[in-house]
Symmetry: C2
Subunit: 236 residues, 2 copies
């Protein structure tokens, strides 16, 4: 894989392009050019159509990006976690709204500052490529998956390293369980999965009846059979 590795182009300082950009990013975000913000849950960061003067890096918590149709229908287009960037636009205005899902810590970066430091672009492009790939998967979910497949795919997002290439399967000893914190209301989940709130609730009830999940208090769900749930995602 050495050929495809980004550790290829080196400079006089012996650093590869990607290492150079990551270092530039760390130095820049540690500087006093970057403002630190702490927001509570369900707080607006910006609205679609606002002037896109700042972008944001999530250092803790989760943020959703959404768009509204004029009649009020909402689609959550991205859910972003720690290390993600949002609010960087090709044009002058934000193309969607951003709202926190949990208490969130952000770094706010002036677009102007960013453009003055080309070394930062390597880090930003890597983030954007990751987001674009996630959006491709989400288009498959929205365009081609059933309600059951959408909800189970959503739950599997919270189980790292399972259900993807190289998944090791369940541990040999002990139950194949995990408690996940959704940090989203049923309505938000519905708006992310392109479903109605009634359909989301119905699927959750069905999964409980089948013994695949159990409800915990508040917005927690205990997955009782990770492999069994994963087989319903349409990806196998």
């Amino acid at each position: 894989m050495a050929y495809l590795d980004r550790q290829t182009a080196t400079h006089g300082d012996g650093l590869s392009e990607s290492a150079r950009s990551e270092r530039a990013w760390s130095e820049f975000t540690a500087s006093n050019r970057v403002k630190r913000l702490a927001l509570t849950e369900h707080e607006a960061v910006f609205f679609e159509g606002d002037r896109a003067e700042r972008l944001f890096e999530i250092t803790d918590g989760a943020v959703m990006l959404y768009k509204l149709l004029p009649d009020g229908r909402r689609q959550v287009v991205e859910i972003l976690g720690e290390g993600s960037l949002f609010g960087l636009q090709a044009s002058d205005l934000y193309d969607c709204s951003a709202e926190t899902l949990t208490p969130v810590r952000l770094r706010a970066i002036d677009r102007h500052d960013l453009e003055a430091i080309p070394d930062l672009l390597g880090h930003i492009n890597q983030c954007l490529l990751g987001q674009l790939q996630t959006m491709h998967d989400h288009a498959v979910l929205l365009g081609r998956k059933s309600a059951f497949e959408r909800v189970t795919s959503f739950l599997m997002r919270f189980v790292p390293k399972r259900g993807e290439v190289g998944c090791a399967g369940p541990a040999k000893d002990g139950p194949d369980e995990k408690v996940v914190v959704l940090a989203m209301t049923r309505q938000e989940i519905a708006d992310y999965l392109g479903l109605t709130i009634e359909t989301v609730s119905r699927v959750f009830s069905d999964l409980r009846r089948r013994g695949l999940i159990a409800a915990e208090k508040h917005d927690r769900v205990r997955i009782l059979d990770i492999c069994g749930l994963c087989k319903l995602t349409g990806t196998h």
Copy 2:
């Protein structure tokens, strides 16, 4: 708008960062490091899971990116035209397949070469931001729009400068018409819009019956009332 304009950071050569990157991109793509390819319509460029050693720039024609579920369901995730880049990945493998829709001219760029020239990153960044914004709109279409709204939104893609912010409306004299070349089969349109082929055909028939479009030969459609069609997209 000067503040938000990308023409801000300048160097000793008096060029802004973005102008510098665009010039670097032109020079690089004119060099003999870049291979030129000419493909016919419906030819595969690469498949999901192939090693992502090259990326591509479209200089003429249209390309679709799609993903398959194991049972054969397909979702077209992006449709790209002249000037677009595709095949650049955060990881080592292509996350989707690429196929030409029309005869296409491509520039094939070795990923390795790209990483050695940091000046190219600004151009790539702008392309990625544009694609991400289009994917946001497509998520709204797939997640929240009706079949009618999806098909009419798709048709309006082919009418530049209408139905978007600052749309001037129909010309005062003459009919509000346009002949558009879809360059996609009904099945491909269905796979892009998250619909069945029967639904796409039914909506086209309905639009003909309402006098909003007329079928031309092959894959051409004459839009007879651009404003009328636009009002059905759900965006107004």
